[in-house]
């Protein structure tokens, strides 16, 4: 795996974020400087539950995602207010709307190129799929 992939593993596999010690802002991914001016941040793990803030259905996708089309993508607002972008796994377009509750799970994101490198990360999952 190239370094560009492995260095993002804490965020993508374990939802590791940062929190500003001065103003409490959550940064995902962790940052060296907060907009409040502080450079003092601490590790923080995101909650894995939240709701759909907005979404779309990708019907014309990049070649590396062609086998998934059509797939639902969303901005998810987690329970602590942090937002992030990901796919909504296994969801039919009509099952998703603004406000739909979801849980983030560790999933295969896609398979890249002819050699089939598999990329992993978080995906949002609808309640009916959560065990």
């Amino acid at each position: 795996m190239p370094a560009g992939y492995t260095r993002e593993i804490p965020q993508r596999y374990r939802l590791e974020a940062g929190k500003c010690k001065k103003c409490g802002a959550v940064h995902f991914p962790q940052r060296l400087a907060c907009a409040c001016g502080s450079k003092d941040t601490e590790p923080y793990v995101l909650p894995s539950t939240g709701k759909i803030a907005t979404y779309s259905v990708v019907r014309v996708g990049p070649s590396d995602f062609m086998d998934l089309v059509p797939y639902v993508v969303a901005v998810v607002e987690l329970d602590d207010g942090t937002k992030l972008t990901c796919q909504v796994a296994d969801a039919a377009p009509e099952e998703v709307s603004v406000g739909t509750p979801v849980t983030l799970e560790f999933r295969k994101v896609n398979q890249v190129g002819g050699h089939g490198i598999i990329k992993y990360g978080y995906k949002a999952v609808l309640d009916r799929f959560v065990e």
Binding site: T54, V58, V60, G61, S63, V75, T85, Q87
Partner: protein, 387 residues
């Protein structure tokens, strides 16, 4: 700072899939047209706006390339990149070089050669304006990002797919009067809503096209411009503003508010000493129909949430209260990403000189241009007026 005039403008005769014109030829054609229009025999410096010629054409280092092919080897020249706002950013850089007194005559332009790669190559190249690690990694495309902004706007303000389609209808109508437009045909609401869905709720006719094209302007000091203008109306850059926002859409507190456009406009309006009510026409960044709706809200032409009704009610059409995108906009004229911001200024000057033909805004004295990168991660705004 001293006053800065726009003394020359240039475009390719027509934008589109220009298979017989290379990256360098596209730019040189527009730049030489602008230099000829200005009536000068040289420029002192140059800024070339371009988003990603490396990915589209395998070529970087555009300052050197374009100075050479302009017939001015040795010219100080720099490429400026701010995604789809590269052209506007190039003009802003030239403005400050003239305003500061460092140079008297500066060329600023933009170019993008997008059709040398296939559709998938273009999708990839354009996606680099979004957050590679935290948006694109997950399979999110550019249309999908704007689609998510549209869903937010629709959900909160009742904006409809018909409202979006009406932006395309209006801009294609305007573009039908622009000889340089890539797609100068008219469309109907039914055609837009019946076209292929790209990323719900955006149809293919809600999206701007893939375009080869370039645009250029020549800026100079007001004193020099008075010598050169002759009988023609003299156009000055009255205000300039630029701002950024988070590159990732999800980082923003409001998912359909263009904070960078609001900030850039505030700066430009303050410099010009005017406000939205003083503007006669606008050229804005309608890369997708929803973008124009969000932009006219951020520029202050309509209230927050009311942008959806503007095209439907004729407010932003030629003959309306504030005509928006008389050129046809990115939607009909075409969107060679790095060129777009400079081309908006070409249209602004054309209107202010009274040379816009059938699409002329009667009595146009002051206009605004708004050019935007990514999902609004950067914006550049210019206020132009007749002296």
């Amino acid at each position: 700072m001293r006053d800065v005039a726009i003394i020359g403008v240039g475009l390719n005769p027509k934008w589109g899939e220009l298979w017989d014109k290379s990256l360098r030829t596209l730019f040189a054609e527009a730049a030489l047209a602008a230099i000829e229009d200005a009536g000068v025999d040289h420029v002192d410096s140059m800024y070339v706006g371009c988003m990603t010629s490396g990915l589209f054409a395998g070529q970087e280092h555009l300052g050197s390339l374009m100075a050479d092919y302009l017939g001015q080897p040795g010219l100080p020249a720099t490429r400026v990149e701010s995604a789809c706002a590269s052209g506007g950013a190039a003009v802003r850089s030239a403005f400050y070089e003239v305003a500061s007194g460092a140079s008297d005559i500066v060329l600023a332009g933009g170019v993008e050669k997008m059709t040398d790669v296939g559709g998938d190559g273009a999708t990839y190249a354009l996606s680099t304006a979004a957050d590679a690690d935290y948006e694109v990694y997950h399979g999110v495309t550019f249309p999908a990002l704007y689609a998510m902004m549209a869903v937010d706007h629709m959900n909160r303000f009742g904006t409809t797919s018909e409202d979006l389609a009406n932006v395309a209808v209006k801009n294609h109508n305007h573009g039908s009067m622009n000889p340089a437009a890539q797609y100068p045909f008219e469309v109907t609401v039914e055609q837009v809503l019946g076209s292929v869905m790209v990323a719900d709720p955006l149809h293919i006719l809600d999206c701007s096209p893939i375009t080869d094209g370039a645009a250029a302007v020549v800026l100079c000091s007001m004193d020099k411009a008075k010598e050169l203008a002759g009988d023609r109306p003299l156009v000055k850059i009255a205000g300039v503003g630029a701002a950024t926002d988070t590159i990732a859409l999800h980082q923003r507190p409001d998912l359909s508010w263009l904070g960078s456009t609001e900030k850039a406009a505030k700066t430009a309006f303050e410099m010009a000493g005017v406000g939205p009510d003083d503007i006669d026409f606008a050229e804005v960044h309608d890369c997708f129909t929803i973008a124009e709706i969000m932009v006219i809200e951020a520029l202050g032409f309509v209230e927050r949430g009311k942008g959806g009704a503007a095209a439907r009610d004729g407010l932003t059409a030629l003959g309306g209260k504030i005509p928006v995108n008389t050129s046809g906009g990115l939607k009909s004229k075409g969107h060679p990403v790095g060129a777009t911001g400079a081309a908006q200024i070409v249209e602004g000057v054309t209107q202010l000189r009274g040379e816009a033909g059938d699409r002329q805004v009667e009595g146009a004295r002051r206009g605004i241009t708004q050019n935007m990168g990514g999902t609004g991660g950067s914006s550049v705004v210019h206020v132009l007026e007749v002296v």
